[in-house]
C-alpha cells in the first residue's frame, strides 16, 4: 500500500511511533567534519523528517546503531555483576539498500559464526524495523551494482523524499494503522541500476594464487600511502571487529565494567599479543588483509557473496585518497599476472 504524506503528517506519525520506537536516521552535524566548517552526516535519533539527510550519503554507517562504537557488556560492583541493558523500545532505522545488505553481512558474523550468537547484537537485531530510503544517489564512490547490493526487499517501509513530501510504501502491515486516513498514492521504490563506478570482482582460483597474491609487490605501495588510521574500517558498513576492555571506575577498583570498542585491523597493535608477538607489521600487509577480507576471505567462509557492499564510505573517509575500487583493479591485474605465470 502506498501513501503520500507531507512533512507535517510524517512528523505526526513520528510522534505517534515514538512511544514504541526510537527512530534512527542519518543526520547532519554542522561543523563537525574532519576539516573546519565541514559537516558530518551520521546516524542519530531523530524526531522530525527535516532532520533526516536524504540527498547525501552518510559519512558513517548504520552499523553504529546496532553495534555502537563503545558498548558495555557487563557492570561489576565488588563481587556482583550483571549484563548491560539496552533501550526498552524497538528501533526503526532509515537505511539505503547497501546499508541493509551490510547488516545481512554483519549478521553472519555476529549471529551464527562458529555456532555462537552474539547476545548483544542479537537483542538489538530483534528490535529493528527497517525503513528503506530509496537511493537516487550516484556518487562516484558508489559501486553497489557491482556488488549486487543495489536491491533489497528486506524492509518494513520504503520511502522517497520528493517535492517536500514523503512517498511511503507500507510493506509491513504492523505500520498500516499509522497511515490510516493519509492520502493514498501508488509508490513502489526504485533501485539503482547502474553506477558511474564499476568494479570487476576478482576471482582467486586457488590457495596457491592467494598465497602469491599476499606477497605480491602491489601491497608495498600502501606502506608509503596508507597512514594506518583506520578511517576506512570505521566508515565501513560491514566491518565488525572489536576489542574487549575491562575498566575500574574508582581508585580501589571495586566498581567497573567490561566493554567492547570497535577495533581496526588497519591500526598498529590489532594483533599484539601479551608477550610481544604481533603480525602484519606494515601498512601494506594490513591493507592486504582488509581488502582480501572484503573481496575474498569472507565469501570463502560464508559463501554466496562478498563482504563489501560497495557503499564507498571507505573511499570518502580516507584522508590519503586511497580508493578501494582502484585497489581492487590493481589486485585484478596482480591476479592475472600470477595466473599467467602459473600457466607458463
Amino acid at each position: 500500500m502506498g501513501y503520500k504524506v507531507s512533512f507535517e503528517e510524517a512528523n505526526q506519525i513520528f510522534a505517534e511511533l515514538s512511544s514504541e520506537y526510537e527512530i534512527w536516521a542519518p543526520k547532519r552535524f554542522p561543523g563537525k567534519g574532519r576539516y573546519s566548517d565541514t559537516d558530518i552526516i551520521r546516524y542519530d535519533k531523530v524526531k522530525t523528517v527535516e532532520e533526516i539527510v536524504f540527498d547525501e550519503k552518510s559519512d558513517f554507517p548504520a552499523k553504529e546503531v546496532l553495534s555502537p562504537i563503545t558498548e558495555p557488556l557487563f557492570y561489576f560492583t565488588e563481587d556482583e555483576w550483571r549484563e548491560s541493558k539496552v533501550t526498552s523500545k524497538k528501533i526503526m532505522i532509515f537505511m539505503r539498500p547497501c546499508d541493509i545488505a551490510a547488516q545481512h553481512r554483519q549478521e553472519r558474523i555476529y549471529l551464527g559464526n562458529g555456532g555462537f550468537n552474539d547476545m548483544y547484537y542479537e537483542r538489538m537485531h530483534e528490535k529493528v524495523k527497517i525503513v528503506m530510503m530509496q537511493c537516487d544517489l550516484d556518487d562516484d564512490t558508489c559501486f553497489c551494482v557491482s556488488m549486487g547490493t543495489n536491491k533489497t526487499d528486506d524492509y518494513s517501509l520504503a520511502v522517497v523524499c520528493q517535492d517536500g513530501a514523503l512517498k511511503v510504501e507500507v510493506k509491513d502491515e504492523t505500520f498500516a494503522p499509522y497511515f490510516e486516513g493519509k492520502t493514498a498514492e501508488d509508490y513502489t521504490p526504485s533501485f539503482p541500476t547502474e553506477n558511474k563506478t564499476k568494479v570487476k570482482i576478482p576471482e582467486i582460483p586457488n590457495k596457491e594464487v592467494l598465497t602469491k597474491l599476499k606477497s605480491h609487490p602491489m601491497w608495498e605501495e600502501y606502506n608509503k600511502r596508507c597512514i594506518s588510521c583506520g578511517s576506512c574500517t570505521v566508515a565501513c558498513s560491514t566491518c565488525t571487529c572489536f576489542t574487549t576492555t575491562d575498566i575500574a571506575y574508582n581508585e580501589n577498583g571495586s566498581v567497573g565494567e567490561r566493554r567492547r570498542t570497535s577495533a581496526s585491523c588497519q591500526i598498529e597493535g590489532f594483533t599484539d599479543m601479551a608477550g610481544g608477538h604481533s603480525f602484519r607489521n606494515t601498512a601494506g600487509d594490513r591493507m592486504r588483509y582488509k581488502v582480501l577480507h572484503k573481496f575474498h576471505d569472507y565469501k570463502e567462509r560464508f559463501k554466496d557473496y562478498h563482504m563489501c557492499v560497495g557503499c564507498g564510505r571507505c573511499i570518502s573517509r580516507c584522508p590519503e585518497f586511497i580508493s578501494i575500487t582502484a585497489t581492487v583493479d590493481k589486485m585484478n591485474k596482480a591476479i592475472a599476472e600470477i595466473v599467467a605465470e602459473e600457466n607458463k
Binding site: 566548517d37 558530518i40 551520521r42 562504537i69 563503545t70 583506520g230 591500526i267
Partner: protein, 344 residues
C-alpha cells in the same frame, strides 16, 4: 636629474621611494591576501606600462609595481581607482571613496592572511573573511598597525611578528563513546602541537586542557569523529610582535579563546588608543611602539574598553616582553630621551 618631490607625501600615497632618482614602487593592498584573479591583468598592465616591467610580491602580501616614474603617479592613481573601489570599498566595505588620487594613507598596513580554511585542511578560520572585517575597522587611517590573520596557531601568516596576530582556534569536544582508543590524536598532538593528550588504561583519552592550543590536530587525526570542533569559532591574539633594526620580538599571547566579536571590538578601539598615545598627532610610528609607550596596562584598559568578553575568554594579566635587542644596551638611555604617552 633635477627633482623636487615630497617623498613623505608619495609614501603616504603608497608609492615607495626607489634608489633610482625619480622612481617609485606602488603597493596595492590585498586585504586577506585573496582577490579576484581578474585584477592580475591590471597589475600586469601597470608593470608593463608604467613600471620597469617587473613585478614584486610584497612582503606584506601587497602587489608591488616597481620603477614608476614620479610624473606617472597621477596616471597610475587614475588607473587603480577601479581596483581600490573593488577591493577596499566594495569587498571590505571600508568607509572611503575611490577617486583619482590613489590610496589616502599608508598608515594601517595591509592585513595579511594565510589561505585559511577556504582551502587549508589545518585551518580553523576563514582568514580572508576576518581580514576583510579588520580592514574595514583600521583602514583608511594614518595610525600605523600591522595585523596578520592565521587559520590556526601554526601561524604560517607570521602573526607572531605583527603588532596583532590573530589565529583561528576551537575548543575541541571529545566524545568518549566514539573513541576507539587508537591513540592517533595523542600522536598527532605530540608531533604537531603541545602533546596534551594521552591514552589512558581505559583505552580512552586524557587531556591536559590547560596547555591545549586549540589547533584541531586531534580532530584531523581522529578516524571516528570522536574529536570535533566546538560550535563557536574562537581566536587567539598575539600582541606586539615585530621585526626591526632595534627591538625585534615575537608577539606574546594577549587574548585566548575569544570570539570574533571580541577580536573586532578590540580592533575598533585601535584608532582611539593610538590617538591617545600620540596625543592626536599621527606620526610615522610602528603600532608596537605605541603599546610600549602606553604600557601594557593602559593598552589593555583602552583596547578592551566596551568589549564584552565571551565566557571562555582569557586575557593576559601582565605581559613580560622578551626582546632581542639588535645592539646591546640600545634601550638604556637618559630619562630625557624616553618616550612619553598621553598628553604631551
Amino acid at each position: 636629474m633635477n627633482h623636487d618631490i615630497d617623498v613623505k607625501k608619495t609614501r603616504i600615497n603608497c608609492f615607495r621611494q626607489s634608489k633610482v632618482p625619480g622612481e617609485f614602487m606602488l603597493q596595492l593592498r590585498v586585504p586577506g591576501a585573496l582577490i579576484d584573479a581578474k585584477h592580475l591583468s591590471l597589475v600586469q598592465e601597470l608593470c608593463q606600462t608604467y613600471g620597469n616591467g617587473t613585478f614584486h610580491i610584497g612582503m606584506r602580501q601587497t602587489l608591488n609595481v616597481p620603477g614608476i616614474k614620479y610624473e606617472n603617479i597621477p596616471a597610475v592613481n587614475a588607473k587603480i581607482k577601479e581596483y581600490i573601489q573593488d577591493v577596499d570599498v566594495e569587498m571590505c566595505d571600508c568607509d572611503m571613496e575611490a577617486d583619482d588620487k590613489g590610496y589616502p594613507t599608508i598608515g594601517a598596513r595591509n592585513v595579511m592572511a594565510c589561505i585559511g580554511n577556504s582551502h587549508c585542511i589545518k585551518a580553523n578560520a576563514n582568514t580572508h573573511e576576518l581580514a576583510k572585517k579588520i580592514e574595514k575597522l583600521i583602514f583608511p587611517s594614518h595610525y600605523h598597525i600591522k595585523v596578520s590573520v592565521a587559520g590556526c596557531p601554526n601561524d604560517c601568516a607570521k602573526g607572531n611578528f605583527n603588532d596583532f596576530g590573530v589565529m583561528g582556534i576551537f575548543k575541541m569536544v571529545y566524545d568518549a563513546n566514539r573513541c576507539i582508543g587508537c591513540g592517533a590524536c595523542a600522536k598527532a598532538c605530540l608531533h604537531h602541537a603541545t602533546g596534551v593528550l594521552s591514552l589512558n588504561d581505559h583505552g580512552k583519552i586524557d587531556k591536559d586542557t590547560c596547555c591545549c592550543v586549540g589547533c584541531g590536530e586531534c580532530v584531523i587525526a581522529c578516524p571516528t569523529g570522536g574529536w570535533t570542533r566546538g560550535n563557536t569559532h574562537l581566536y587567539r591574539v598575539t600582541l606586539g610582535g615585530r621585526t626591526g633594526k632595534q627591538y625585534p620580538r615575537m608577539g606574546k599571547l594577549f587574548l585566548n579563546w575569544v570570539t570574533e566579536d571580541v577580536v573586532l571590538g578590540m580592533f575598533a578601539n585601535w584608532q582611539k588608543f593610538s590617538a591617545w598615545v600620540m596625543d592626536y598627532k599621527p606620526e610615522y610610528l610602528h603600532g608596537g611602539h605605541l603599546i610600549d609607550r602606553a604600557g601594557y596596562m593602559k593598552f589593555k584598559e583602552m583596547i578592551l574598553d566596551g568589549v564584552e568578553l565571551n565566557p571562555e575568554a582569557k586575557v593576559a594579566d601582565e605581559l613580560y616582553w622578551t626582546e632581542a635587542e639588535q645592539r646591546a644596551n640600545i634601550h638604556v638611555k637618559p630619562i630625557s630621551q624616553h618616550h612619553k604617552a598621553g598628553p604631551q
